[in-house]
Symmetry: C2
Subunit: 318 residues, 2 copies
């Protein structure tokens, strides 16, 4: 399939083209530039909602229930499940297959996992690229699901319009959240498995901690929704809160700001990667080899060497 | 403590100064430049040995036993335990305290964990910086211990003179190793818990896979040592193999090459970070804000915007 053809088919929502395009994103294909260029004019419509939480809070179950709630409102939805664990587990794919079953025959639902969340050798702009693909394909809502392991939760907030943080009773999630900086970025909290002991304690703890935190958007007080996703309880309310937050973002101009911030990060990451490969090019001329030897043998510290390398690159030191 | 004073005390092996300096590395302190500059002339002596393997292979036990073997040869040793897991678990610190007990009264042993292994917001040059601190403090050997989670194993190999990969029977480690690219970077394998069923199978599998792999250093065939670290069995042999590898590196010039490569990575990371902050500076002038809006609203793709940003940076496009 040629790139132009792939772009057309993605825009038409063709499943095979979508799968292909996201695989190209995962693999950091050289064709991405052309694909992103072709898709760019057709983006900016989809709402991006991040779902995150520790393993065991019922993230997949909640996402599935939310997908149902979204479908009931007549909106189409894509789920991008980002697996930050080892790219070698294959767990993401298995999860996909199991979850696909419920929605397999619904043309308004697309579920895809992406093993490469951008760290440890992958593209740091993989997520925004994948979002662009799904956005251009015309989905009304894109749910980005990540396993919350500290920093990952905070990072996904940078990609989403609305970030939902899932907790569960008795998992110490509220304390974890406070430590990981999640309180600052969560727009909506869900205490899932709310029929279990301790759910109200978890809610109270969350509420107390949220009150103590300074958020960038002072006008929005993150609601805490009690859900039992496995029984579909509270899920409609959860989605209603997400829609309220979206309306709030639109009303105060924050939506455009968040999307600009997302684009800014993506541009900088690509620019930086280009500079990185240019630094490698400087090395080919032998300059960095001499500097590396000087540092290895203690004649320079690495900061001085970096200054000299940048001077050589022609972009001046400092 | 002033920087010059800190540098002096680190060189003298003062424990409090070491702890302070590595904390500054963890935190990405602004004083690092001056500290590294002060320490640089006093480095290049220590042998750096990486220990890695999946959770449960007995890494801490093996490291402890190897520390004993090193001490028996009259060499001083520092252990840098790098915890790639969430910085919020506190697990590293607990592990430290437990392990310190055996060697607490031995002035020739220093054990320190570092939560920040450089990804997810930390300094990517944290490990080489910490190695420089311990090297300048005069330790003969530095053991760098990492939990092997795929890519992390491969990355630590870039920091060490010799990389030891620990496996255990029945954990599927040999298959994992093959997938994660560890076979290419391991200099010595240890099959720990070798008194358990399946140890010889694991050794055979490893041997077969090692034979199939192209290594950068063709002259060294990675030995596979059987150990029961908890009973001190095979540990002296393991250390002997590490010393053999070190002698091999010295003899064929590979040692200097590995250290230059390490310095090269450190220099490039610092240079790149400086470029990154300059890209942020470009943003302060408003240039990147306009580009980010164009990308967010679909008028540009991010690659074109990155080209324009680099042009603005004055370093030319491409």
């Amino acid at each position: 399939m040629h790139t132009a053809q792939l772009v057309e088919r993605v825009r038409g929502g063709d499943r095979r083209a979508l799968a292909r395009a996201i695989t190209l994103v995962e693999n950091g294909s050289a064709e991405l530039r052309e694909i992103m260029s072709g898709l760019a004019p057709h983006t900016g419509r989809a709402r991006v909602v991040g779902f995150t939480g520790s393993p065991g809070v019922g993230k997949s179950t909640t996402t599935n229930a939310v997908v149902r709630a979204i479908r009931e409102r007549g909106l189409s939805v894509a789920v991008l499940a980002i697996d930050p664990s080892s790219p070698f587990t294959g767990g993401a794919l298995l999860g996909d297959r199991v979850r696909m079953q419920e929605h397999a025959t619904d043309p308004g639902v697309y579920i895809r996992s992406m093993a490469n969340r951008g760290h440890l050798g992958g593209l740091s702009w993989a997520t925004p690229h994948a979002l662009r693909v799904l956005d251009a394909a015309g989905f009304d809502v894109i749910l980005v699901e990540t396993v919350g392991v500290g920093q990952a939760e905070v990072e996904i907030a940078g990609e989403a319009d609305t970030t939902v943080v899932l907790c569960a009773p008795g998992m110490g999630d509220s304390v974890q959240a406070a430590k990981a900086g999640v309180l600052e970025v969560a727009d909506v909290f869900a205490v899932n498995k709310a029929d279990r002991d301790g759910a109200r304690v978890t809610r109270r703890e969350l509420r107390q901690m949220v009150a103590m935190v300074d958020r960038a958007d002072e006008e929005w007080k993150p609601p805490i929704v009690m859900t039992v996703a496995a029984k579909d309880e509270g899920v409609a309310e959860l989605w209603a809160r997400v829609e309220e937050h979206y309306a709030h973002l639109e009303a105060n101009g924050e939506l455009a700001e968040r999307r600009r911030a997302r684009a800014r990060g993506e541009i900088q990451a690509i620019a930086l990667e280009r500079l990185r490969s240019r630094l490698g090019g400087v090395g080919a001329d032998g300059g960095i080899e001499v500097l590396a030897r000087d540092v290895a043998e203690g004649r320079h510290d690495p900061y001085t060497a970096a200054d000299l390398l940048l001077k050589e690159l022609g972009s001046g030191a400092q």
